[in-house]
């Protein structure tokens, strides 16, 4: 396993309902990332289809593995890179049950998928109308260490990131489609999740306009001490590369030992109180 590697944050806009165009852009950015020696490139939430596709989601969703993941797998093998991207996933057992998923593939093929657990259904968001939530966190062994996958609104729930960390992920990726008015929340929470878990957080947001919503970009790599070590532009397509060095975790974990100080009995109470809210 590599202790040190480069990660590329591919902050793109997507053409809604146009998988072919989006796959082409993913290929283009993955190649650019490879040129800059990145070993992992991350794309935004639902980057295969665009975010605001509403009822068309049933036309666009695919099984995993499926035609689109096979194209991405081939790409990852060809250029020798790990790729994380988002897509609507059709359940294997039903005809129209869809998950909002993140997919991780590597140079040796498919590695894992994560189904978004927290589906925002308020304000401009209507995800519960379309998606079934996932029931487990995602943390996957790779040549680049154990990588955790989370999606957008998950970041508002420290339990998800915590559990992903406790599964052993030291790099937790959060792919996102966040419109402009939410910027402050994400900028605060991504840093908080990195510090409280002594982990790297790679946040990759969409840019562009969909249905009047403007996605703000601002993708970033945050170190375990909360420092932002790579940051993309706001509002514009951008590819930035940052470095992960897992050796950075140890001094932080000693300095602020949040993992040592975890109190399991609190979680029991949290469960009870949540059930009776």
């Amino acid at each position: 396993m590599k202790e040190k590697f480069k990660i590329a944050l591919a902050q793109i806009s997507c053409r809604r309902e146009d998988k072919k165009a989006n796959l082409q852009k993913i290929e283009e950015y993955a190649k650019k990332a490879k040129k800059q020696n990145a070993e992992l490139v991350v794309f935004p939430e639902l980057s295969l289809t665009g975010y605001t596709v509403r009822d068309e989601i049933y036309e666009l969703a695919e099984k995993i593995p499926g035609p689109s993941t096979r194209i991405i797998e081939k790409l990852a093998k060809e250029i020798g890179i790990h790729i994380i991207f988002g897509m609507p996933e059709l359940s294997e057992k039903t005809e129209a049950t869809v998950y909002n998923s993140a997919v991780l593939v590597g140079p040796k093929g498919f590695i894992g998928k994560y189904r978004k657990m927290y589906l925002p259904t308020h304000s401009v968001f209507e995800e519960k109308r379309y998606f079934r939530p996932g029931y487990d966190v995602g943390a996957f062994e790779t040549e680049l260490g154990k990588i955790g996958l989370t999606i957008c609104y998950d970041i508002f729930f420290p339990e998800v990131i915590r559990l992903t960390r406790l599964e052993g992920a030291k790099l937790i990726v959060c792919i996102s489609a966040s419109p402009a008015i939410r910027r402050t929340y994400f900028e605060t929470l991504t840093t908080a999740r990195a510090i409280e878990n002594a982990a790297f957080i790679a946040y990759v947001n969409l840019v562009g306009l969909e249905d009047g919503l403007q996605f703000w970009g601002g993708s970033r790599l945050i170190g375990p001490n909360g420092n932002i070590t790579a940051k993309a532009e706001y509002d514009e397509e951008n590819l930035v590369v940052g470095e992960i060095d897992y050796a950075d975790i140890r001094p932080v974990e000693i300095f602020v030992p949040t993992l040592r100080d975890l109190r399991p009995e609190i979680f029991e109470k949290l469960k009870v109180k949540t059930e009776t809210l």
Binding site: R16, E17, G50, T52, V53, R54, D55, E56, E126, R129, A180, G208, L209, E210, D211, G212, Q214, D235
Partner: protein, 282 residues
């Protein structure tokens, strides 16, 4: 939350950028050749015109000045021309009086005393001209409705609110005034009292019965889920005044939506057909 005027402060540079990006993106994706809009010389249409010009270039923006005999106001025409000149828009002047009179003559039920019906007719005639130009020249119709008017329904249904895009619709009137000054519209236009000019002497604040400074704070409170008691307390108003605004806010939803139908079949427009909105001409 403290309902002080400062809650309405925005980062004006950011607001300008977002609106320009929205306009440019829409026009480009729709493959239209530009924008057409009604230019009255008032604050909203002047701001919409200026932002359109800043977004896609004045040469691609056509402002239609559509005066009419009864409400003709020289200053408004001059202000509209001033905005057009400053932001490099193309303009055309169309006197709508002959069209208005011709239509009035063919309406058996026409009553010249009913100024509201007659006024709305003017707004709808202007819409007809705008869409003619849009169709003929492959342009997007840019509306200039602001959030204050939209939320209390202070506009003509299928008249001035009829448009393909409404870039100012999420800014209250007092915010539009500030944005207008930020982008360099003359102060006399930015601060000019608002009037729909549907009949002579019609002034918005008089007709609505409340100053925009107060109305906008009430609407801001309602937007942020505040109770009317609390809004009234903070603004030193009678609760009944705030309730009146809230009732108007609620009862005008019919003007903000597509026509209601009753559900009969599997999927229905306006109910459960939820399709993505793609930028299109008409």
């Amino acid at each position: 939350m403290n309902l002080t005027p400062s809650v309405l402060d925005l980062n004006w540079a950011e607001a300008e950028t977002k609106i320009k990006r929205f306009i440019k993106d829409y026009v480009e994706n729709s493959k239209a050749k530009g924008i057409v809009l009604g230019l009255s010389g008032g604050i909203d249409s002047s701001t919409a015109a200026a932002l359109s010009a800043l977004a896609i270039g004045g040469k691609k923006v056509l402002g239609l000045l559509m005066p009419e005999k009864e409400t003709y106001n020289k200053r408004d025409i001059e202000d509209a021309k001033l905005v057009a000149e400053k932001f490099g828009l193309k303009t055309e002047i169309i006197d709508i009086t002959p069209a208005l009179e011709a239509i009035q003559k063919t309406i058996p039920a026409f009553n010249p005393e009913d100024k509201m019906c007659k006024g709305n007719l003017k707004a709808r005639i202007r819409m007809v001209y705008l869409y003619y130009y849009a169709n003929r020249l492959n342009l997007i119709v840019c509306g200039s409705s602001d959030k204050s008017e939209t939320m209390i329904g202070y506009f003509t249904k299928w008249g001035d609110a009829a448009a393909d895009i409404a870039p100012l619709m999420d800014l209250y009137k007092t915010q539009v005034r500030k944005l207008a000054e930020h982008i360099g519209l003359p102060r006399e236009i930015a601060q000019k009292p608002s009037s729909p000019s549907l009949w002579p002497g019609q002034m918005a604040e008089e007709e609505i019965g409340i100053k925009y400074e107060t109305l906008d704070l009430i609407l801001y409170g309602l937007e942020h889920f505040m109770k009317t008691e609390e809004i009234a307390r903070q603004l030193g108003l009678e609760k009944v005044t705030v309730d009146k605004v809230k009732n108007r806010w609620k009862s005008m939803e019919h003007k903000r939506r597509m026509p209601l139908t009753t559900k009969i079949q599997y999927r229905t427009a306006g109910f459960d057909f939820r399709l993505p909105h793609h930028s299109m001409t008409h």
